[in-house]
Symmetry: C2
Subunit: 208 residues, 2 copies
DNA sequence: AAATATCTGTTGCACAGGCAACGAATTAAA
DNA sequence: TTTAATTCGTTGCCTGTGCAACAGATATTT
């Protein structure tokens, strides 16, 4: 699901026109949205991959999510016309279209027939983000690190639907996502491996 | 914000009609939505208060959120036409209208002018739920129980905008929400009190 | 190739917090 | 009022995990 699903190429172009969408390029590690920045446009990833995170009050970083090509971000703040509580950085060289959300919601002056479709897509997009957040909450709610790891792996296994699946994150990133210490993660992974519960080699994992 | 915001009483009635909404009553502690139940309607709370939670794979309970009068729940599952991964129970005697979400999205056959308004409201509702979930993630991402408690209290203080504010939850409920052990919560609360960082009496709290 | 930086795993130590057992206080039921 | 049930706080014990320090592996730069 993405906001342009079911909409033809030329209609997408038309839409980007009639909403005065602005497209920008960002280098790897460049900040796309700053924490505290007032937002009125959603970001649509034309090319690349971004990280959505926030600074904890103790200064540490909390990873909220990752988003890739064809996905959107900052919908929530754009809809509320609020300041962003997260910052968004380019994980690799990326290209982003910023689409004014009010122009999506309001009736198109040119009376585009696909406006309604976009609105419905936006609804479904935000809705599915909700599910993603709930999954993260489920993982974070696990009492032990062992359970957090296993749940995360299970979800990835389901997603990829493969016996051996790849986690596209560094150990540090996984630890941050789980909200735990990196070395504790390494220790627990090794333990799970020695217990024969999982197996892994670099970023390839397997649950037995 | 709720899905009927800005819509007149008689139009709401009209809408409930033209979407064939069904209204049901539930006793305290009665289950409104079961885990695994196929959902195609959103729940709109006419009266009462509900708890949204889920069963962890170890059998323990994870509280997702609470919802009150005029608020909605299960939008996410209804939109995806999916099975619910949460169950919803009445915290007190409640009255719920179930509104078929497809009838909200599709153009109204009677051509209601407020249909568009509802759709926009629904969008904003789901969007703001997103924020609520993110706040919970922020709390759960705190490394220590102390930080979790303080962040929770700060958020409630902000919400109520009062020096002394009430947490409408039992200790057990707070602990479940934070994903920690109840006695550990009590211990930490007492410690924070003795350190002079907070003060509390039953459910009334104060941050110094 | 050599030098440097980044990533990952290992281990010792300390302590936060889970769990069990208990008692006191409060509320509900008989 | 008495009894039972629920809620809340306290404490001892023990395990899980954060942290620091380090080493080896891998990737990047010069």
């Amino acid at each position: 699901m993405n906001i342009f699903k079911g909409i033809k190429e030329d209609e997408i172009k038309h839409l980007l026109d009639c909403t005065n969408a602005v497209t920008k390029s960002f280098k790897k590690n460049e900040i796309i949205i700053h924490q505290g920045q007032k937002i009125n446009s959603i970001g649509y990833i034309i090319k690349g991959c971004v990280k959505i995170s926030r600074t904890n009050f103790d200064g540490s970083e909390i990873t909220v999510a990752y988003a890739q090509k064809d996905e959107t971000f900052a919908e929530t703040f754009a809809l509320a016309n609020k300041q962003s509580i997260v910052y968004v950085t380019a994980k690799e060289d990326s290209c982003i279209s910023f689409i004014n959300v009010n122009k999506i919601i309001s009736t198109c002056p040119k009376n585009c027939t696909f406006h309604k479709k976009i609105l419905e897509n936006l609804l479904r997009t935000i809705s599915s983000k909700n599910l993603v957040l709930q999954e993260k909450i489920e993982i974070l709610s696990q009492k032990t690190l062992k359970d957090k790891i296993l749940l995360l792996l299970q979800k990835y296994k389901q997603e990829t639907n493969k016996e051996i699946f790849k986690l596209p994150f560094s150990r540090e990133e996984i630890a941050t996502y789980l909200g735990v210490n990196r070395t504790a993660l390494s220790r627990e992974l090794s333990k799970l491996k020695s217990e024969g519960i999982i197996d892994f080699e670099k970023n390839l994992f397997k649950i037995k």
